[in-house]
Amino acid sequence: MATEKKTVELDGLEQFRENLDLKLQAKQNENLTTLNLGPTHPATHGIFQNILQMDGEVIMDAVPTIGYIHRAFEKIAERRAFYQITPLTDRMNYCSAPINNMGYLMTVEKLLGITVPKRAQYIRVIMMELARISDHLICNSILGVDSGAFTGFLYVMQEREHIYDIYEEVCGARLTTNMGRIGGMERDLSPKALHLIGEFLKRFPKVWAEFEKMLTRNRIFIDRTVGVGAISAERALSYGFTGPNLRATGVDYDVRVMNPYSSYDDFEFEIPVGGKGDTYDRYLVRNEEVWQSLKIIEQAYKNLPEGSFHADAPHYYLPPKQEVYRNMEALIYHFKIVMGEIDAPVGEVYYSVEGGNGELGFYLISDGGRTPYRLHFRRPCFIYYQAYTEMIKGGQLADAILTLSSLNVIAGELDA
């Protein structure tokens, strides 16, 4: 039974899983073990519960339970002024908080009709790509940890600290960043921030090359990941996969290229795709995306345009503090913005960005009030985690853990 899994190729995968269901019905619970994986198991990297039906080491069926850290963000957003919702978005995918922030801000800017200056767009691109690196870096190194290679994790974790240092210099926070404001960034890149980014660009390629060297052609790692948790492109599309997990199946859908936002069309980069949609492919796609992100940051860093770091939108963008003390208009705007007393126009907007895990969408309905009438988050984790049951069926328990980490399910984004 245990050796059956390794020989399964992608073509026969669905048939194999169907046969498994039949076998399960035939067995009718005799000799089956029920195992409770989670909700707070250290290997699940987040709060997920799966009740597994196991035949020996092989998973026959799984029932996932989610919602352990549901914080009702969509409800809260209906009662908060627009600028107060950005901190909620940090707490969705906390591994790449700036992408969430920027995605939300760009949605609101689209509703308000604000055009952000080039410099702010480039700064946003730099921050978003740094966030993507820190997201993929965690995912891939955790995958190493789960397959028994702890060293790489600690090694690249140091680089994440350096990325957080850059965040800290740009916005003052490290994990939940609340970066950017409606209309641009809250401050320009300081000389120190520019220096830190430059240093990062110099140092990181070596680190990442070394990390790749440790895992990519590692015999143990390949044995553990090739063919594990595979999904076909067709099923993945039906499950609404986006991002690296979809690209690992061979579909080259990337929001940054298909619907470029924030000047992504100015940069040259490639979309890596896989073929089999298994854990190893997902690892490779994320690895290559880190290189591409570095490429984008380099281009943006070199060609950073001069100009303002925010749009001229006095109704929504806070005036400089020294103006508030001296200028009546500035004081009025400051008060109105902070109290959230500025009404947005009536409208309806969907905007999506390429988040760490896929298409992160914001569907905003405004009825002309100070808060959104309805704000729906399209959270990629929530959408693709439902395929997890199908992906682990027929595999072993240890492989289920690897599949979970390679999907990069972030509990905060899953439950919102």
């Binding site: 969509e74 409800k75 109290m339 409208g347 907007v349 569907y363 009438y373 929530f382």
Partner: protein, 168 residues
């Protein structure tokens, strides 16, 4: 074929008739129109299977509550995407809260499963034919559907948190 709002809408109306497709407009570059409960399932199947359109990716769906609209209190919004043509589409179905029933899309898209459970959890929309329509994010013994507009964000009887400015 280049997909534009005109030719996509023309094709849909040709298939389903003007009495079933109405109120088409373009609020943000994504064509939006309304349809009714009897048509929605066939419509989404048609968009998915049509060789020319290939609008075969369900981006997201969500409920919306409009308590002031008589007999159109609830709304389900479906957003579809054609990855081949990079064309997006938004479909709305309004229905009364006294009869919150919608056909399920789980037979067309695997991803509809949890999205519909979320809409059930938040708004109490009942999807006929759904294989496992139970709450997904909230606890199972919750007695109401919290995203409906009549439920305030926080307990209004609390006295330690009176703050009229910040919308509590």
């Amino acid at each position: 074929m280049e997909l534009t709002n005109e030719n996509v809408l023309g094709k849909i109306i040709e298939q389903f008739g003007e009495e079933n497709i109405w109120d088409a407009y373009d609020p943000d570059g994504i064509m939006t129109f309304q349809t009714n409960r009897a048509t929605i399932h066939e419509l989404i199947r048609f968009l998915r299977d049509d060789k020319e359109l290939q609008i075969s990716f369900l981006t997201t769906m969500c409920g919306v509550h409009y308590p002031d609209q008589k007999d159109k209190e609830l709304c389900m919004v479906y957003q579809l995407h054609s990855l081949r043509h990079n064309y997006r589409l938004r479909i709305k179905v309004y229905f009364p809260i006294s009869d919150p029933v919608m056909p399920t899309m789980t037979d067309l898209y695997a991803t509809a499963n949890w999205m519909e459970r979320e809409a059930y959890d938040f708004y109490g929309v009942i999807f006929t034919g759904h294989p496992n329509l139970i709450r997904i994010l909230n606890v199972e013994d919750m007695e109401y559907h919290p995203m409906l507009k009549q439920y305030p964000l926080e307990d209004q009887t609390r006295e330690d948190k009176i703050n009229t400015f910040f919308g509590r």
